[in-house]
Subunit: 681 residues, 2 copies
């Protein structure tokens, strides 16, 4: 903004003059631009193909007319694209612009008092009131002539001709001769080329454009080391054999826990026991050994080239391979000797292991981000990410990002995405709300959420409303996980297969992004370590597991059907249109999603009770569904293929746990047609 | 904020490095400071004697403990005062500081990861867990010793002694000897003098502290020219004789329409007719004649010294004299000749008069704020305000501020209030909401509102909720006027005396500031110019009126009682605690106000129907009133002196228009006492 200091002081004035931060004649004001997060300091998130809709209050003193435009500039470009904004009433203006290019773009709103539009509006009223407007035509001629002076020659000529015509009309004795003053053509010419005196600017806002997968993704987590035959240690090559199954189930991100050498010092045994036996494989999150650190692969799993090959094989199936980014070291990590400064030392010279006093985690050394050599550490960590990007990995699930400083992530993600804007970072921060939000604000593409522990109808409605209808939706993309290797909730331990099924449907239809930890999930692994613990018994974090993916009762068919529905229905690929509907039974939850572009609409009814049949009367808000209340509509259950026809919003539903966890309805609207089978579309 | 640029680039990086706007090791984050308007660009408003309460989200990565302080600095001072903020849970912090000095003050929130508090908290848990903490005591000794090094000698010595004790305890063989590590005294010393590494700052917010009258004021508007005897032109000296009556009624601001010479060119006649007769006095808002302009007084009213005398006489009664600031000129204003550049000219050389095409106001020339000589114009207008301040006028009612540029008002008000922070500006902008809000944001002390047209229960509840419970309450102080010389609503024209009475009670109890245009108000002047017009018949704007203030049926007694209640009850001197309560009759409205400091509580029941008796069941939200639901409470009607005793929230009320427009209850709470008359306090 310009800074203006008024020079003269009235006699008797004693103190310093007041600085006015705007031109004294700048009359337009812009306020309350949306979207805008944390006073413009946080970019809003969108995906390529989205339309960015921007609104703002824009007004001036008095009753003159404003010109208001939305301006957008992609990173690295010099020119602004410009779109006229339109008034919505009550001094609110709105404009839209398509987003195509990945990366960061900047947008601003600009407004000015438009002298030509103001003059034209007043002229219309003068003419309607029967006033003599000859002198006013001279005013108009002057405005158009000024515009001509300020534009390149090819535009200036028609403008100058227009100015002459107005001046002529002013001299003409024919009172009805307005010299074309009120022509739409002249109005358009002047809207584009007319003067824009002293415009006000909103300041720069940012939008971060990412690939569709940033918003819509289905994650499958897998421990490759359990894929070996006959209890042997599995390898990255063994994963290739699983890809058919994963693709068939409809997942598009395959996420592997850390693949790096595992420390031997203080290695944990099975079920997280203090001492590991010689055959114990240890936790993959205790990263680093003599064989290498964050850029090495555990020899038992394979080589860095095996990672590259797997990433490539995945990409052939439109699956992204995701690695785990766990920025911590085992005591055997090469950095412990090479960079002792990157760790915290105690006065007795020992390195601090991880602690949550009085608990100790002696197999883990945290990195010291307050180290003198913090810049060296940051660079090394960026190099790790770049190393795996160079090996074809474009998705990172980041372990505990909330225990590293925020500026580090802001820098790392910006550095990576500046060159590779398609890279996706998932924040695994199960911590306090403000910390989770901050990580999303500074650049994480997606975030784990509290969904895992939200089980009752009202918890789900409250939480999803916060995630999808508040400002949080502008920067935080939730990812819903019914289970993870760290979390098997009490709810899941107690609810059995019907509960796993309902949690899958909830995660995959409430959230455009979701994930499961398998094969534990589809095989309904529900045995907790002990009562009150969320740890698995015989957790794969500390030992190999011999899963039988083909076993009877596997949830694979349900997962396949749900993911197929997600791919076929754009309504399920977004969260912003999620709407809850009333049902008179608290064990049933009913919600819809719509894709406004295609009209695609999905209605979901989930039975939250894994033990009993539940039924109830639903009251649909038909306007949220864009359903005509005067015609029937058809519901096709994408899980059972059953078809229903409903009239109006009041309808009965019933679900039996043994049969189905949910209805996942595709809504088909009434269509006038001569053939029966074309009644609905 | 510091700016940090990471110097080295990884091999293969091509584009420019990303700038990080914070120190890479600055771990604390501050977000969502409240109060904060328009991203810190707008000061929040308070009055002297208020406590400023500030809250913010403050957090860091991990689980270390934070230190968080509120810092405040009055304008012109160099030192910050500092108050520790306390955690409210969920990473929200809060602190308070008293506001005494008039003027602008700056406040910020500062947060840092507190190494000593973190160490101390962990030590407690280590000790509780039975760990050997000897090495940890050395860590503590080091932190305390660092603090000693950084502080002045008198503080350093006790700190150094503490550090030595910790180091000794570390060497001691007695496991229980902690060297006083967990003493509260040491914790307090370190909270004040301990290190504050890399603090985060919220950026500067502003609070504008004004006198109590900025929030709590009762305005009385009067045309002095109607005070003459036997139809003669009244003078400023005649106003002195009215002061007893005005003071008795309880008003504390006496506002006069413009007192300046009135133009003769195109002067309006009675009832706004086109042509004035030779005896017509004209509109006081057509300012300027041969006798002078904005710093002159109409000779018929008196002299500038009469203004000074009247202001002084008012001040003796704790009344402020308010003048009208109407920045426009009659064609006869001296500026028209002296400063032709300050007016807009048409191509034929004529000066533009005021217009709203096709309507013309030929007796008024607007000032051209887009003039080349805008700086000269601004200075002249500031000189006008300073001139009247020098004559003892400290309150200005500003006519149509929304037709002058916003930067002008921002500058003028800041210039005036920097030297004279007690000056009050009332914005008379009956225009669009965003424009009214903007004028309040840039510095107007009080604002006229839509109250004048809000008549039904739901309109009043909606509007008052917006004004008192949204962000608007932080910067806009509403002033409620049942009538003005420009506005006699249809509602008022039809409702008669009972409606005037209920509108008075609404204005004076919903709003801490309110005003009436008298004697038209107390004499129930309700004759409109013609059906559908809000203008008065025989409007005092264009002619003298011979009022009879002592007439039977005058509302003076009611006004006196209401203003007495306002002065006696601090609850009525603020808007922030306004709460509406349910009553099962839409012609009754029930609300309360509380003063948290004194506990003073007022409950108001108004009958919105001027024609019929209305009764209904009230459901009070007793928690809003701080009433114990298990004891009776007493209600004293401050208008009728009747007393009631109620139990619980459910009670019946009834109001007859002929008897009383409202109950204005003072609530007295149950008090344990041995004497009957002390049951309530």
């Amino acid at each position: 903004m310009d800074s203006f200091r008024f020079a003269d002081r009235a006699p008797g004035g004693t103190s310093q003059p007041v600085t006015i931060r705007v031109d004294g004649r700048r009359r337009a004001v812009i306020e309350s631009v949306r979207p805008s997060i944390s006073c413009r300091s946080v970019p809003v998130k969108r995906v390529a193909g989205d339309t960015l809709q921007v609104s703002a209050d824009a007004f001036a003193d008095g009753h003159d007319q404003l010109g208001v435009v939305l301006r957008i500039r992609d990173e690295g470009e010099r020119r602004w694209r410009e779109v006229r904004m339109r008034p919505l009433g009550n001094d609110r203006w709105q404009g839209e612009t398509p987003l195509e290019r990945l990366g960061r773009s900047t947008f601003t709103v600009r407004a000015w008092v438009d002298p030509f539009a103001t003059w034209r509006g007043q002229l219309e009223r003068r003419v309607a009131g029967g006033q003599d407007v000859k002198v006013e035509l001279l005013v108009g001629a002057d405005l158009v002539s000024q515009a001509a002076d300020a534009t390149p020659k090819q535009v200036a000529e028609p403008l100058r001709a227009r100015a002459d015509r107005l001046a002529q009309a002013a001299r003409s004795k024919d009172a009805a001769d307005l010299g074309g003053a009120l022509d739409e053509e002249l109005a358009d010419l002047m809207a584009t080329h007319g003067p824009r005196p002293r415009p006000a600017d909103s300041g720069e806002h940012e939008v971060w454009v990412e690939p569709l997968r940033a918003r819509f993704s289905s994650w499958y987590e897998l421990f490759p080391r359990s894929l070996g035959r006959k209890g042997e240690h599995g390898t990255l090559r063994d994963v290739h054999a699983e890809l058919d199954r994963i693709e068939r189930m409809g997942f598009d991100i395959l996420y592997l826990p850390p693949v790096h050498p595992i420390g031997r010092t203080a290695r944990k045994g099975k079920n997280n026991t203090e001492k590991a036996g010689p055959a114990d494989v240890g936790s993959p999150w205790a990263i680093g050994a003599a064989e290498g650190g964050h850029t090495a692969v555990l020899p038992g799993l394979g080589t860095v080239d095996d990672v590259r090959d797997l990433a490539e094989a995945c990409r052939g199936r439109e699956i992204d391979l995701a690695l785990d980014l766990a920025l911590q070291c085992s005591p055997d990590h090469p950095w412990v000797k090479a960079h002792p400064k990157w760790f915290r030392h105690r006065p007795d010279g020992s390195i601090r292991y991880a602690e949550n006093p009085p608990k100790r985690y002696q197999d883990i050394y945290p990195l010291d981000f307050e180290s003198e050599d913090w810049q060296g550490l940051w660079q090394a960590l960026l190099d790790v990410v770049r190393f795996w990007i160079d090996h074809g990995v474009l998705v990172f699930r980041v372990d505990n990002p909330h225990t590293k400083p925020f500026p580090f992530w802001e820098w790392l993600i910006a550095e990576v995405k500046r060159d590779r804007p398609e890279v996706i970072f998932l924040s695994e921060a199960f911590t306090r709300p403000r910390v989770m939000e901050q990580l999303a604000k500074l650049g994480f593409t997606q975030s784990y959420t509290y969904f895992t522990w939200r089980t009752s109808k009202w918890e789900l409605i409250d939480y999803l409303t916060e995630l999808t209808r508040s400002d949080v939706a502008e920067y935080m993309r939730p990812n819903f996980w019914p289970n993870t290797p760290d979390i098997l909730t009490e709810h899941m331990q107690a609810g059995g297969r019907p509960l796993f099924a309902s949690r899958l449907v909830l995660a995959a239809t409430l959230g455009a992004s979701y994930g499961v930890y398998g094969p534990a999930f589809e095989l309904v692994e529900a045995r907790g370590l002990r009562p009150g613990s969320e740890e698995y018994l015989d957790s794969e974090k500390y030992q190999l597991r011999d899963w039988k993916p083909g076993a009877a009762g596997s949830l694979e068919p349900l997962i396949t059907a749900v993911n197929a529905a997600r791919h076929a229905h754009p309504a399920l690929q977004r969260n912003d249109t999620l709407a809850f509907h009333h049902v008179d039974n608290d064990m049933l939850i009913v919600y819809s999603k719509r894709d406004p572009e295609s009209g695609d609409t999905v209605l979901v009814v989930v039975n939250l009770d894994p033990h009993h049949t539940q039924g109830g009367w639903v009251d649909l808000r038909l306007e949220e569904l864009d359903i005509d209340p005067n015609h029937p509509y058809q519901l096709v259950d994408l899980l059972s293929d059953d078809t229903y026809i409903w009239n109006g919003g009041h309808n009965f539903v019933e679900l039996r746990p043994a049969e189905a966890p949910a209805h996942l309805f595709h809504l088909r609207r009434y269509l006038r047609s001569e053939q029966d089978f074309e009644y609905f579309a």
